[in-house]
Symmetry: C2
Subunit: 373 residues, 2 copies
């Protein structure tokens, strides 16, 4: 048994290649092993140092390309200190490589040769990169508005990229349709992807001198990163290595904020909300399948959600640029949020910079112009 | 004294902001301190761990953003093992961040507020990023063909970017003109930039278990990276930490190969050669000012030059993509070279991947297409 349904408890083996339970719910990784300090031993560098927390069978061979081990920088803005985790310094240019490395390792272990996925770009690029390294074929359905750079990147990895007219959700529907005859390697659904993302939590703890910050601010689309971070922080707590989890602050674009809507309305799951096009394309997920887990993580950590407007995101991206940091709009949303929250949560907060600005060259070209002769 | 002329020995202080000697030659860092194993002590991660080798005054405060500490992956192609150093995993997306961090730290130390530079893109982006972090204003002259993504990136860092009609060399001429009334922060000329690049040599030695590979293959435009690596390997040897330097193999595009021409013709300096437009824009440097040092490093290490054709570069970029690695054409040139050299030098060679493929999205878009509906 590797998977267990989060709602009804039905178990599934790794080889079932299920992306959800027959009851419709998402699955969790089914592991009950105790996790101790000794499991973090070994040389630093790379997410596989934390493999004990991934819940994979021990004989799985990692598909790894140097992901993780990203630096944390410290800045001061308006007399408050903040930490920025440079999590875009990954092989494919975003934090998703953490998840893709673990998910693709599981896929390869079970002999999968071909998968489908839907993505606004970063997860598709990460999956395509690791699948290429593992010799697995990939078809990625992307929304029509996906940045050219991300599409080119996926194609260079050898992926079959199909643009879907309509919204992000429509790419999802196409992938679900294709998944009926193929393995759906979904970063939105798969719990091993989330476990891979949890590696960032252990890194934060280690790089901050085995301490945790008061608050961690992270962009929320599907919410997998927030769920993964919470899992990681709780694991550290269970192992007696850290105190309580940092307050997790999830950032959504005001134009597509289903998790925020559910959070402020005390709902346990997200509901259908209106989706408008946002510059933060990486967090435009209208129906996050693991929303229950994400909402629970937010509440359990004493955290909350923040929405940011388009102009706030753009301003934050420019501000980061003037600090020497070039990140995509989705990433810049965390600084936009940090500038809005109460001072109590600002001081000493850690913000995760999730994607390279090079992925959004077209968008930023429209902002700053490109040609001067 | 910080600088000393490589030709006539004239000394200059750091505060002179000279980019060359009155005699016309490039300058070297003037340090004679012995470098020992104890100077590599301290926690791993980041280039400033090796600051003793940079030859900067001790009271210089680093302008650092988590550059360096890039992973090394091992692959097997055609039954030969090769190592790939993922040196594009840097804040601005290329190895140049190593040099920019050290050069900008020196500039800030001496109170510089405004600089000019010329670049095909990567050095300009790196300099713009670190200058932004240091509060220094930058004007970058770029050739007309520079990738849009790189221009947008520099502008997001707040740089003033000016496209120059003509060839790479024409941007250089414009920068030299502007430098008459301003500090010319040239990655082509400045020896501290080269010292920053040398940090990769110490990393290779540390990450390979305090051993060095037989051969290191690196793209050569100005040749600063090759010169820096050689300096680093020689420093390790002088300190008794490693044996002889790896054979350094410098790769140039067949369309712009002044160092190669000088090398195969037993010349001590490069001479004016024809420059044609190449897809490997990062190594199209027609008149490399430090060519003497680069040629000496090549010969001293028992290495040599290799030229690669446009089609070979493109094929290598695609091949790397199918391995899960997305790098710019300039970077892919090292695999193109590796595939051509003698088997003796192939086995166990280390290839440096210098720039992210995301920087060349426009070029690759033309190669693989972008839109499918």
């Amino acid at each position: 048994v590797s998977y267990r349904c989060a709602a009804c408890g039905t178990p599934y083996p790794l080889s079932s290649h299920r992306f959800r339970c027959d009851c419709g719910s998402y699955l969790n990784v089914d592991d009950s092993e105790l996790f101790g300090g000794q499991d973090l031993a070994g040389p630093p560098g790379g997410i596989w140092r934390y493999r004990k927390c991934f819940g994979l069978p021990e004989n799985v061979t990692p598909v790894s390309m140097g992901e993780g081990n990203t630096p944390i920088l410290t800045f001061e803005i308006d007399d408050a200190k903040l930490h920025l985790k440079m999590d875009f310094l990954q092989p494919s240019g975003s934090f998703k490589d953490r998840g893709a490395s673990v998910l693709v390792s599981a896929l390869k272990h079970t002999g999968v040769k071909q998968v489908v996925e839907d993505s606004s770009g970063n997860a598709g690029a990460a999956l395509s990169a690791y699948a290429a390294a593992a010799g697995i074929g990939v078809t990625v359905f992307v929304p029509y508005y996906t940045q050219e750079g991300k599409v080119v990147q996926m194609k260079m990895y050898g992926a079959n990229v199909l643009r879907v007219p309509g919204k992000r959700q429509d790419a999802n529907i196409e992938a679900l349709r294709a998944a009926q005859g193929c393995v759906y390697a979904s970063h939105l659904w798969n719990p091993y992807f989330v476990r891979g993302l949890s590696s960032a939590a252990y890194e934060i703890w280690e790089k901050m001198g085995q301490e945790l910050p008061q608050a961690v601010i992270v962009p929320v689309g599907s919410g997998g990163f927030l769920e993964g971070l919470h899992y990681g922080f709780c694991t550290l707590k269970r192992a007696g290595l850290a105190g309580s989890s940092p307050r997790l602050i999830g950032v959504q674009a005001a134009r597509c904020a289903p998790i925020h809507y559910a959070f402020v309305n005390d709902m346990e799951d997200s509901t259908d909300i209106e989706e408008e096009k946002t510059i933060a394309e990486g967090i435009a997920v209208q129906r996050p399948p693991r929303a229950r887990a994400v909402l629970a993580a937010l509440r359990n950590s004493g955290g909350y959600t923040v929405t940011v407007e388009e102009g706030e995101i753009t301003e934050a991206a420019k501000r980061l640029g003037r600090m020497g940091l070039f990140v995509e709009p989705t990433s810049a949303s965390v600084l936009a949020a940090w500038l809005k929250i109460e001072r109590r949560d600002r001081e000493g907060a850690l913000l995760v910079l999730t994607g390279s600005g090079l992925k959004a060259a077209t968008t930023y070209g429209g902002l700053v112009g490109t040609v001067e002769r």
